[in-house]
């Protein structure tokens, strides 16, 4: 039975956002007997309501509130009001994610130490190590049911994977398999096995892919200690004279403003909304926004160095059939500066339906150069590049000077310039990706530019020193003890891996710390 809590209840932990960070943290705390209210801006859409149609699903799930973009990234030109492809719904972007679940590599936690000072980059070591996280990674992999962990078999290879694998092996790559995926390869945790439907990004209608929507959240609700309030958009975090946060102001389903009191506030609205909220919560005591004595709130925005490679063959592939991202090459994931850049990248299978392929293959493109590619749609294979990008202070979320949202709050602007290291890595990955397909007879290949960001990271980063970042090794803000960050915005650096597993891992660890601090009366 879901617990309803009073607005005036000062004992609750308020979590803003219900995705990988917020949804996991909410359940973990509820399991420990902590009273939790999750405020989620989006609606509650159960998985049987998901739609196998790219644009219709986009309208159902995507975060479409107005945002602006700036900087030299191509997304700003092609999709000026859509910097990110993330979700506004209960479950957050875990409804949309592809399921790739990789641990960070040891060296990636010490990016500054291992890469050295990179001009223009604001690199920093994480205040924790892989060893610190390993026990929590193990818990997260079990929770998500990650394939190739805990004795769970890998997913079967789709047509798109088979092309990808054959090309990779022809090139001499060795670390090639169908991925570590938070998608059931067999019935587990009361959820179906993957049916190879091909609409992972549109929300899994089988519930085979892990999402907080139908795992963490109902499990938390069953304890009687967790209330999820959908369509509750938080506008401001309030604090008292002592500088501790006291609650949040949010717009409810009807758009009326409510104040929910809180003992602790955890921000988990993804890396655009989380810093936006801290900045929008500026007060006389905190004129630059909450938790911002370092000036780092909103800065160091990372989105991974991405891009895609598509290829056309002379025979059918039908790459849209099957699990979208169940295929990976990890040979390029290490740090090998002889390639001309620091950090590494993963290559993962990817397919889009015809409508999204038309929108994303070459945004703005037209004429036969473009259409002959789509004419070969059923003979296409595809992969996605995901690599470590450099944190740069100038890449940031800031409050728009003029434009306001439906509640009168300044909208976010997302500024991003590629770092030369990002460009060198992307070009290397394009070459390797095209060579993979050429090795199995591609007649044409397409180095496709990055899509609106799905991995948004780093805008409230974790640091040892309060002067370097926003939160400490527990995600607790350096400035305000009872204010936490619980999403990917706390990442110090981005690493080469898809971020969700690490967000979940940090949330499990944060729940342990929070519960302990609460029980000791420290918060």
């Amino acid at each position: 039975m879901a617990a309803p809590y009073d607005l005036s209840d000062e004992n609750v932990v308020v979590i803003i956002g219900s995705g990988a960070g917020g949804g996991t943290l909410g359940n973990e705390l509820a399991q420990k007997g902590v009273d939790v209210v999750i405020l989620e801006a989006g609606k509650r859409i159960e998985y049987d309501e998901f739609i196998n149609d790219e644009w219709e699903s986009f309208g159902q799930l995507a975060w479409l509130d107005n945002r602006t973009t700036s900087g030299d990234w191509r997304v700003s030109r092609d999709f000026p009001n859509l910097p990110a492809w993330i979700v506004k719904a209960v479950g957050g972007t875990t409804t949309h994610w592809a399921g790739a679940s990789l641990r960070f590599q040891e060296h990636e936690f010490k990016a500054l130490t291992n890469y050295g000072s990179v001009e223009g980059a604001n690199l920093l070591d994480w205040p924790l190590t892989l060893a610190d996280l390993e026990p929590y990674y193990a818990k997260a992999e079990d929770k998500l049911g990650v394939t190739r962990t805990n004795g769970i078999p890998g997913l079967p290879g789709s047509n798109n994977f088979k092309v990808f694998e054959a090309g990779a092996k022809a090139l001499g790559y060795e670390k090639v398999h169908t991925g570590r995926m938070a998608i059931n390869s067999e019935y587990r945790d009361d959820r179906d096995a993957c049916q190879q439907t091909g609409f992972c990004f549109q929300g899994c209608k089988w519930g085979a892919k892990w999402s907080t929507l139908y795992t963490e959240i109902p499990k938390g609700e069953a304890t009687g200690r967790l209330e999820v309030r959908p369509e509750s958009h938080v506008l401001k975090i309030e604090h008292g004279d002592d500088g501790k946060v006291t609650g949040v102001v949010y717009a409810d389903t009807q758009g009326n403003l409510q104040t929910q009191k809180a003992r602790v506030v955890c921000v988990a609205g993804n890396s655009i909304e989380s810093p936006r909220l801290l900045l929008n919560s500026a007060s006389n005591m905190f004129p630059d926004g909450l938790a911002n004595s370092s000036g780092q709130v909103g800065k160091n925005y990372m989105r991974h160095t991405t891009g895609s490679v598509y290829a056309v063959f002379d025979k059918p592939v039908n790459f849209y059939r099957g699990t979208t991202m169940a295929g990976i090459i990890q040979d390029e994931a290490g740090h090998d500066p002889s390639r001309g850049f620091v950090g590494g990248y993963e290559l993962e299978t990817l397919a889009l339906g015809l409508p999204f392929m038309a929108a994303f293959l070459d945004p703005g493109g037209w004429g036969r150069g473009f259409t002959t590619a789509l004419d070969a749609y059923d003979r296409m294979a595809g992969m996605w590049i995901v690599g470590e990008d450099m944190p740069q202070e100038k890449n940031r979320i800031s409050l728009h000077g003029e434009l306001k949202d439906q509640y009168g709050m300044p909208i976010p602007d997302v500024y991003f310039d590629d770092h030369p290291n990002d460009i060198a890595m992307r070009n290397h990955a394009y070459r390797q990706g095209m060579a993979i397909y050429d090795a199995v007879g591609a007649t044409r290949t397409f180095p496709t530019p990055p899509y609106p960001s799905t991995h948004n990271l780093g805008t409230n980063r974790m640091s040892e020193k309060a002067s370097d970042g926003v939160v400490n090794m527990w995600g607790q803000s350096h400035d305000i003890d009872n204010l936490f960050v619980s999403d990917g915005s706390q990442f110090t650096t981005g690493a080469a891996e898809n971020p969700t597993l690490t967000i979940v891992t940090l949330a499990i660890r944060q729940a342990d710390y929070l519960a302990e601090q609460l029980s000791q009366g420290n918060l």
Partner: protein, 180 residues
């Protein structure tokens, strides 16, 4: 109201063919009364706000922007009909903008107008001249969804669309590749 209908009432196929003979190089589409008619595929698009000649040019322009030789004109017509139905009919300024843009396109094309240019390359050369205009961007951007998000078009590209109701592809060929 704009309707796309399969059989053009009141005009015989023979009549259409005869008119088409005089309609210039892009002869598959003819303008008759308030409608754009397809000669060989027997459908028509009735326009009310825009001039029918303007709609015929828009449809050709759509094909020249995203030419797929195996996709019939009908789907390009469906993609363009909103310029008449939703836009021009409601806003006079939009209607004037579209009419002016097409007049400009015709002027750039020379004596026979845009539809008088027989080769796609020649029409594309004219489109290149207006590539940076708001009008071109509007038409091209609208086509991305207007053309490619028509479910009827998907099978022409081998895309099967919704698959949940069929039980996904686990037993329907997700791993059926044989040529590797």
């Amino acid at each position: 109201m704009v309707t796309v209908y399969q059989n053009s009432p009141g005009i015989s196929r023979r009549d259409l063919l005869r008119r088409a003979g005089g309609a210039g190089a892009a002869a598959m589409l003819v303008v008759s009364g308030g409608a754009v008619l397809s000669v060989n595929q027997a459908w028509g698009l009735e326009v009310t706000a825009l001039k029918p000649e303007t709609m015929a040019t828009l449809i050709q322009m759509a094909r020249d922007i995203y030419p797929h030789d195996h996709v019939p004109d009908k789907y390009y017509a469906i993609a363009m009909k909103s310029y008449d139905a939703e836009m021009a009919a409601k806003e006079t300024s939009k209607k004037d903008m579209i009419e002016a843009a097409i007049a400009d396109l015709d002027a750039r094309a020379g004596d026979g107008g845009y539809l008088g240019l027989g080769w796609e390359d020649d029409r594309v050369a004219v489109l290149k001249q207006i590539e940076s205009t708001d009008f071109f961007k509007m038409v091209r951007g609208g086509l991305v969804t207007g053309l490619y998000n028509q479910k009827e078009v998907w099978p022409l590209f081998g895309y099967e669309g919704e698959s949940y109701s069929e039980g996904g592809y686990i037993d329907r060929g997700f791993d059926d590749i044989e040529w590797l």
